[in-house]
Symmetry: C2
Amino acid sequence: MGRRSDHTRPELREMIVSEGHRQISEVGFARFSAREVAKRIGYTIGTLYNVFGSYDQMLLAINGRTLDLWIAALEGRLEGLETGRLEAAIRAYFTFAVEHRHAWTALYDFRLPEGEPMPDYYREKVEAITGVIVREIAAALPEAHGEKARSLARSLLATVHGHCFFALNGTFALLGEEDPIARALDRVEDALARYEDG
Amino acid sequence: MGRRSDHTRPELREMIVSEGHRQISEVGFARFSAREVAKRIGYTIGTLYNVFGSYDQMLLAINGRTLDLWIAALEGRLEGLETGRLEAAIRAYFTFAVEHRHAWTALYDFRLPEGEPMPDYYREKVEAITGVIVREIAAALPEAHGEKARSLARSLLATVHGHCFFALNGTFALLGEEDPIARALDRVEDALARYEDG
DNA sequence: CCAGAAATTGAACGATGATCATTATTTTAA
DNA sequence: TTAAAATAATGATCATCGTTCAATTTCTGG
């Protein structure tokens, strides 16, 4: 078969990302198959390569979709909230990871070959996640500003990530920790309390 | 060829784990190949299955080797140290991860199929890593004891892990953080300071 | 010395990602 | 209107992977 134009380029792109995300959410990164994605949207493997150029770029697009959904989930949860915004953001962080186990894990399972740079569009999505936390940290610490707030936000993001990661991969269960979110919130509180003092 | 007895069962096991660890350290989890391991020790793929029963159990053994080396590196670094032991432990945590990038990352890239339980020997190694931190936390906080110290240690372990993970996977670089270890130490200090107060 | 046990092989299978000449379709321009 | 050029999609081909297991070879106990 040749040029069909059943779908425009952007439509096709969307179909692949959408189905790819569905796939990876269901079976996880390890069992993900590009061929299966192609089959399910009624195309063949070659077409995925035509559209994305490489497997890696396709996976990046799929992970990008996960980031989009994650950002939306965070923002959505905070919308209209007056108090407890930072805590809500952290809880939403966990909730998304738990509810999208496989897709969330794939974010970290997949890595570009060394040396290959992250595309800007992806970098921006990662920064958007951070941005949410930065904003809430800055709001929680009126006296903090600029780089100080950004630095603390990055670090607390890593803190929350570590707790979330251990919660999902079974490390916390293995170690007997039963309430990972509470522990993450403890650590954030520790940092804020200390900051307020000096 | 048949029963050769060039090597005893334990010898063979050691050869596979040793070469497997070398392999995964070099090329990483994604490019790891069991066939390649077999070839390099002068056996064939079937033999690996004879010895370990499954691919997963072999990988677990290889990751177990990484944990052994990690524990040894932590203990070795602390040996004879009188002061600054907790900080030294955390620095050693990072140092090992950086110096064994691929092997360390493989610890988290590989997961058993859902439902399959961790073998006890592996669980014990993970607990040994935690144990080091628990011990130093307990030493740093004389008034903390039992479950309180364990709980805090687990949480700080997750905190350090998050920072280490973001350092290695490029997230911190992307966000402009240049000194992940310092940030991890900040967070640990935050927790200890708060704990000492009440 | 031989029969049975044990260890090792490697061919076979079904997948995977990757490549690319071929073919079908559309678009363009004459 | 039609021929030529550009484009889209295919699917056969390749190298590799994990997995299985009958066949083969070697060892060992009697």
